[in-house]
């Protein structure tokens, strides 16, 4: 095995992208296409071709986590996942405690399909609940109602799945304090192991962005959003699900291991159109300290791709990787692990961090210990602002 000072060059995370949706949500900026365009079997062949084309790069690795996201993974037949996962199992060793997550639209799953996925090894399900307010769901353009979320959770529990995560979106236009608390109550009533709560973000190019630009929709201002974030953090922590990242909450031990590996800049392999891969390159490589690449994001082109040349590539220098680790680390409740940084990049860069963050520290937004750099509760909603100090 090649010599590397990176933490984990024995294991690998894998992301599988499912670019199909039954309908477009108003706020979503992700590229997606209608179901069956191209047909699932054609898409499957393309994914398997990518697996075969790139598997040599990752030979010897054990798969530690798999995340199937979208798009809408729950629109694909279980046979699709069986084909992909069995191919991966033939090529790679499976970590004994592998985490396999699949995203669900609450309206989609049927008991037989869920059981099939569970039998394939999927052991974590993430439900896109978003809000429990019917008006809120209509605003977002979701094709399910609040009752679908409860039904899907029941179904998962019946199938013996306990590692359930719910996605929520907060600070919706028209959502008052009572509405926010009602969503929190409804989510906690389902006793999830994990929650993600995202502040509504107006992404350029979405129907929502057009409505905001035209003045038809007025999202809450940043002060309100910060207030909502604080309420959510307090309530979830009180319910036993403390925040472990800006928008993520979990019962201890139920944090998303897949996402934590992203945030620690561990290697990952992305399958599907537009899915990024990231890989620590050998010390002497001309490809940078880290190399990131992605294949074409257009589904039709992806289906025909020969996987010889990625459409996007990002060669990350050591300094940039250092910056990214600080930026990503500050988003974590655990903060930036300075010992790990010293091991990876040496002392000088780490030693100058206290000075770089002097303003944030004196403003009470950051705490510094000999081994950790972390944001305070007041610093959390200002993570990006604070992070700027580490950039050149």
């Amino acid at each position: 095995m090649r010599k590397s000072r990176f933490l984990d060059n024995r294991r690998l995370s894998l992301y599988l992208h499912i670019p199909f949706c039954r309908s477009k949500c108003r706020y979503c900026a992700f590229f997606s296409v209608p179901v069956d365009t191209p047909p699932a079997d054609m898409y499957l062949r393309a994914v398997l071709r990518q697996v075969m084309a790139e598997s040599g790069r990752w030979s010897g690795r054990r798969l530690a986590t798999i995340y199937i996201g979208g798009g809408t993974p729950s629109v694909m037949p279980a046979a699709f996942y069986e084909a992909v996962l069995s191919r991966l199992a033939a090529l790679f060793a499976w970590d004994p405690v592998i985490e396999i997550t699949l995203e669900l639209n609450p309206a989609d799953p049927a008991p037989g399909w869920l059981a099939a996925c569970r039998d394939l090894g999927v052991n974590r399900f993430s439900l896109g609940a978003q809000t429990f307010s019917p008006a809120g769901l209509r605003f977002l353009g979701r094709r399910h109602g609040p009752e679908h979320v409860r039904r899907a959770v029941d179904m998962l529990r019946t199938a013996g799945v306990e590692n359930i995560s719910l996605d929520l979106i907060h600070s919706l236009p028209g959502q008052d304090a009572a509405g926010l608390h009602a969503d929190i109550d409804a989510a906690l009533a389902l006793d999830p192991a994990h929650l993600s709560a995202y502040c509504l973000t107006v992404e350029p190019g979405t129907p929502l962005a057009r409505d905001v630009a035209a003045g038809r929709v007025v999202p809450p201002d940043a002060d309100r959003q910060a207030g909502d974030m604080a309420v959510i953090r307090d309530r979830f922590a009180a319910a036993g699900l403390p925040a472990y990242e800006i928008s993520n909450f979990a019962r201890p031990g139920r944090e998303s291991r897949h996402n934590l590996r992203y945030w620690h800049l561990e290697d990952y392999w992305g399958l599907g159109p537009g899915a990024w891969s990231s890989r620590r390159e050998p010390e002497d490589s001309a490809r940078g300290w880290l190399r990131r690449w992605a294949w074409t994001g257009a589904v039709a082109n992806y289906a025909a791709a020969d996987f010889s040349r990625p459409v996007e590539e990002d060669l990350v220098s050591p300094r940039t990787a250092f910056i990214e680790m600080v930026v990503m680390g500050l988003r974590l409740t655990a903060g930036v692990n300075l010992r790990r940084l010293r091991r990876l990049f040496g002392d000088p860069w780490v030693d100058e961090l206290p000075d770089r963050f002097a303003a944030a520290r004196s403003a009470g937004l950051m705490e510094l210990s000999p081994t950790r750099l972390r944001l305070t509760e007041r610093g959390v909603p200002l993570a990006d602002e604070v992070s700027l100090a580490v950039l050149e």
Binding site: Y15, Y198, C199, T201, A222, D223, Q225, A226, G227, M229, I246, S247, N259, Y262, W263, L265, Y268, G270, G274, A275, W276, S278, R292, A294, D314, V316, T320, I323, E324, V327, M328, R331, A359, A360, S362, A363, L365, V380, P381, L382, A383, D384, E385, V386, S387, L388, L391, E392
Partner: protein
Amino acid sequence: MSTRREQIRNFSIIAHIDHGKSTLADRLLELTGALSSRDMKEQVLDSMDLERERGITIKAQAVRIVFRAADGGDYQLNLIDTPGHVDFAYEVSRSLAATEGAVLVVDAAQGIEAQTLANVYHAIDQDLEIIPVLNKIDLPVAEPERVKRQIADIIGLPADDCLPVSAKTGLGVPELLQAVVDRISPPRGDREAPLKAMIFDSWYDSYQGVVALVRVFEGTIRTGMQVRMMAVGKEYEVQRLGIKTPLTVDVDELAAGEVGFVIAGVKDVADCRVGDTITGVKRPAAVPCPGFKEVKPMVFSGLYPVDSVDYEPLRDALSKLSLNDASFQYLPETSVALGFGFRCGFLGLLHMEIVQERLEREYDLDLITTAPTVVYRVTLKDGTLLEIDNPSKLPPVQAVESIAEPVVRATIHVPKEYIGNIMKLCDERRGIQRNMTYLDETRVMLEYELPLNEIVLDFYDQLKSITRGYASFDYEPAGHRVDRLVKLDILVNGDLVDALSLIVHESKSFDRGQEMAVKMKELIPRQMFEVAIQAAVGTRIIARTTVKALRKNVTAKCYGGDITRKRKLLEKQKAGKKRMKRIGKVDLPQDAFLAMLHRES
């Protein structure tokens, strides 16, 4: 090609902007065959782009044309085009001094403007013959009779002497040329006397060095001759002499009465000053031509590069500009807020704008300019006298005995219905009315003594807006006046923003401070902490506003595919922050300075 002195006429054209000076000059050239209309560029005399765009003349020009008069003789007419703005009043006076007469061009629809009148008075003071011309008589709105009466009433020129002209169509232009020959006297002077040639403009040419426009009053200047600049005291050898027709023609000599250019290996315009006299080294004149004075900048401001890497290019550009402009001064200075830059002195606001525009346009520099300020005469308690051209340099209030500010005598011409507005404006600007004269039944001339400080910022714009563009305005320096002046500072979280300090009248300090604090609040982006903005006079805080702390700036979602994208977004935000200027811990956007310094009404 020497012409007998009796057949030479030297004259200039006095006109208000837009009254048709350049068009008339073109017509004169065309009519005398100096240029055919085919190969004529529009408005030949205004050669700088800026001059053309603004319709004003910045540098003087001299063109020799030959006119066959009614008596059959060929006359040498030297047309000296003068700068057209109050900032260049001294240059105008020297250009006029080079002539024996002036053609006064008045728009037959608009009548006399304050600016024109100021130059007419210069001309009258120098005993020049004035030929009034009513231009644009072909326009349906022309009111020649009214304007004639105005000329008679105000200037005292007989109404019958006015020549009707249309510079556009050429109507009346031959008659005008004949009038120049008939009415303007030929130059006096002895071509054998010791040399006395007055410089009425000079500029730097990168191939030939300094080019001086001269009028020879006595004696003869020849190529190869050793000459001395009488005020500066330096000596040179004449390398080249010539005239413009407007094409350049070299000549061997320029004799008493003639006008032309001199090139003598001078490297710096500061050694070839407008108003100085060139004389011969071997046979020097006893006394120079009268009227030379050292021109001093009236208005100062700091020029700073937006990007600090432009500091060296800015210095090079300033040095090049000053080669060509002896009245423009610059000295390095530093500001806590803006970094390294230069304190620059200008003749007036227009001069300042021209220099700024040339720096931005010809040298492609992005600049921050501090608020223009005048030069205060400060008397300290210990008796020391100081001249302060930068408000942040004013000593602490306890040490100051008194502050005197420069005042000007302003002349405003305006239709009578706007008198009330003007009086209100001048009153607000601490003006003292000195005179009010009815020019005719509709127009009034108001004379005010005004602090220069009150007019450098936006007085002219205000004047135009409250009179719907009908007012015209001129001013001349009128000494210094002691008043209750204070330094107004802006503090951001307790740190002084030196570039924003102003000297203002005590009575205005509160309003101005309040206004600046409020405006500053709108311009400063929210930061990680609360930012207090204070306006202070000495140690006394007179206004305070607060920029609340930023509460949220965080990306909601950041997973595998987003890391590169997020880093790029942060890099962009960081680049934006880097362009900001840092005061203490607070980042101030460039826009904040620009907006603070451009005070709107």
